[in-house]
Amino acid sequence: MLLWQELKTLLRHLVMITLAIMMVVPFLWMVGTSFKPHSEVERPALLPEQAQPENYAIVLRRAPDPYTQRFLDLDFPKWYFNSLFVAAWVTALQVLTSCMAAYAFSRIEWRWRDKLFFLYLSTMMIPGLVLMLPNYQIMVKLGLVNTYLGLILPAAFSAFGTFLMRQFMLGIPKSYDEAAEIDGANHLQIFLDVILPLARPGMITLTIFTFMGNFQSFFWPLVMVKDDHLRTIPIGLLSFQSQYGQQTELIMAATVMNIVPLIILFVTMQKQLVAGIQLGGVKG
């Protein structure tokens, strides 16, 4: 009887392992292909016979393309920097503005507060598509098209972030503020010294969400960026495909360099992330 139960558990593991390998196979193919020489790409084998790790050097412009004897026209390292740079600024600004707004919506009593918050909430269901065309026009008028600021600024404010941080802050007992107030602290001090440290789990969740969302964002950079030196990775990959679409091995080397850091980030931060998703239950 006990043995039967243990066998059942083992069987469950085997089912899970089968499912997991099915999810992972595309990634295995991606890594294998990124090491293939061009002549082997069309073969069914997952791994190359003659590995060519130079593919990575070619994409990073450390080595010339062996077929054309020229360096690629695309600046992958710069795209990488751009993606990190833009995502870092967006995340820092969005977490800051969201926390400040959430403080006003959760810790201070004032007239129209809940009405205004409801207005905020209702903007969360406006599709980004509706806003995209006029936002582009606004950026044209502000002269921010094709600039870093144009990529960063519209993403620096978020109703979702405000909502998430407010939910976290509502869970902090009011007595903390009152104690600080009796000690003579003003709102700025309460915000910085009492609420922010207590809201840290929420801030970490929002930081990862925002960073990931922006690092992978495609829509807005696509309309905002015109020059190669401003491209972020997703937009860069698009031009990579249109210029070197036949060179699967190079595209795969580029995608590996895009995806592997994300996998590492997820594996290290997954505890906070899963808790955040299950708590918020919102972000798609």
Binding site: E6, R12, I17, E42, T123, P127, L133, P154, A156
Partner: protein, 371 residues
């Protein structure tokens, strides 16, 4: 404590905290929203030669006469057929993950992990030496997966299931574009080997190059460019979507829902002698109904706006427009035909559809909650 003076002070302080966010909300949220509504009634264009004129409902009338609009709406709806598959799959994965995965005998866990590691690495090394690197690669991956699985149980499986969702974006779309290559892509290579094995001479699907669809047997209008029954570009996009969504947030929400089901419900069912199938349909599934409702509505709202990245990166909306969705149509109207007014009208029609769904969600969703 509430005195008029204090109220006024609070009001000022609150607005200082709110101001940065509120300015952004105004400039990049409220103003563009009103601009796009106003713009949809004009000849708003990115072409300098076109004067800005108020044209009333012209854009909307044109839209309702636009045969392509209905075609693209059909494509959008068709792609959403992957949603029930993804949700059912996510529920299955969550239920599987929620099963007991630790052995009664505590020594089995490290023992099996060690065995999996040794067998995996060992057989991989042997195959590598004997000249079968691809098989060695797969076995090595299997070894690593099962070692981690035995050691960390559901956490490690959850991680593997979630990876496709977490990495979703331009890179995974390009990856799948290569997998779908009709000649040398992994999928058709595998299919050919399977066909050879069974000795059948079927044609492999054309995937992203094909206008076929699973509903291709229906008598669709001619301008829907129906290529007949089969697996085509839309199925390819759907399949990729299911791969990305099945272990994603839906699964995590189901897992949270499962852990909230009171255990005494199952205990009562056990006393009544219910089978595990009955336990699922009479306890688990009804208890998860609010989650199912939520993820369905969110999925439909997302699906109505979906398909843009796939169309832009994989197919340019083709072949013959079969992967053009509403979102890609708005983009091409705005940034390729430069007709922002018409694009805004399409966007607003989409918005109204989403609004109706959201309101229905609130109405029926809250009724469900109070049941």
């Amino acid at each position: 404590m509430s005195t008029p003076l204090r109220d006024q002070k609070n009001f000022r302080v609150a607005w200082l905290f709110l101001l940065p966010n509120f300015l952004g909300f105004l400039i990049f949220g409220l103003v563009p929203l009103l601009l796009s509504l106003a713009g949809s009634f004009t000849t708003w264009s990115l072409r300098p030669a076109v004067p800005l004129q108020f044209v009333g409902f012209t854009n909307y009338i044109e839209l309702f006469r636009d045969r392509n609009f209905y075609f693209y709406l059909y494509n959008t709806a068709y792609l959403m057929l992957g949603l029930p598959v993804a949700i059912a799959g996510a529920l299955t994965l969550a239920v599987l993950l929620n099963q007991r995965l630790n052995f009664k005998q505590p020594r089995y866990r490290p023992g099996l992990a060690l065995a999996a590691a040794v067998v995996g690495v060992g057989s991989a090394a042997m195959l590598w030496v004997s000249g079968a690197p691809s098989l060695a690669y797969i076995l090595l991956a299997l070894g690593v997966l099962s070692t981690l699985g035995f050691l960390f149980g559901s956490v490690s499986y959850r991680t593997f299931f979630y990876l496709p969702h977490f990495t979703a974006g331009a890179a995974t779309i390009l990856l799948w574009t290569q997998l779908y290559n009709p000649n040398f892509g992994l999928i058709n290579q595998t299919l050919r080997q399977v066909y050879d094995f069974f000795g059948v001479t079927w044609e492999v699907p054309g995937w992203l190059t094909s206008t076929k669809s699973l509903l291709g047997f229906l008598p669709l209008p001619a301008h829907f460019n129906n290529g007949g029954f089969g697996l085509g570009a839309r199925e390819a996009i759907m399949l990729m979507g299911v791969w990305g969504a099945i272990g994603g947030n839906t699964m995590l929400l189901y897992l949270a829902g499962l852990s909230n089901i009171p255990p005494d419900l199952y205990e009562a069912a056990d006393i009544d002698g219910a089978s595990s199938w009955q336990r699922f349909w009479h306890i688990t599934f009804p208890q998860l109904a609010p989650t199912t409702f939520f993820v369905t509505i969110m999925g439909v709202i997302g699906g109505l706006q979906g398909g843009f990245e796939q169309a832009r990166l994989m197919t340019q909306g083709g072949p013959a427009g079969t992967t053009t969705t509403i979102s890609y149509y708005i983009y091409t109207q705005g940034f390729e035909r430069l007709d922002l007014g018409y694009g805004a009208a399409v966007a607003w029609v989409l918005f109204v559809m989403i609004l109706v769904l959201t309101l229905a969600n609130w109405k029926f969703g809250s009724r469900r909650m109070s049941d």
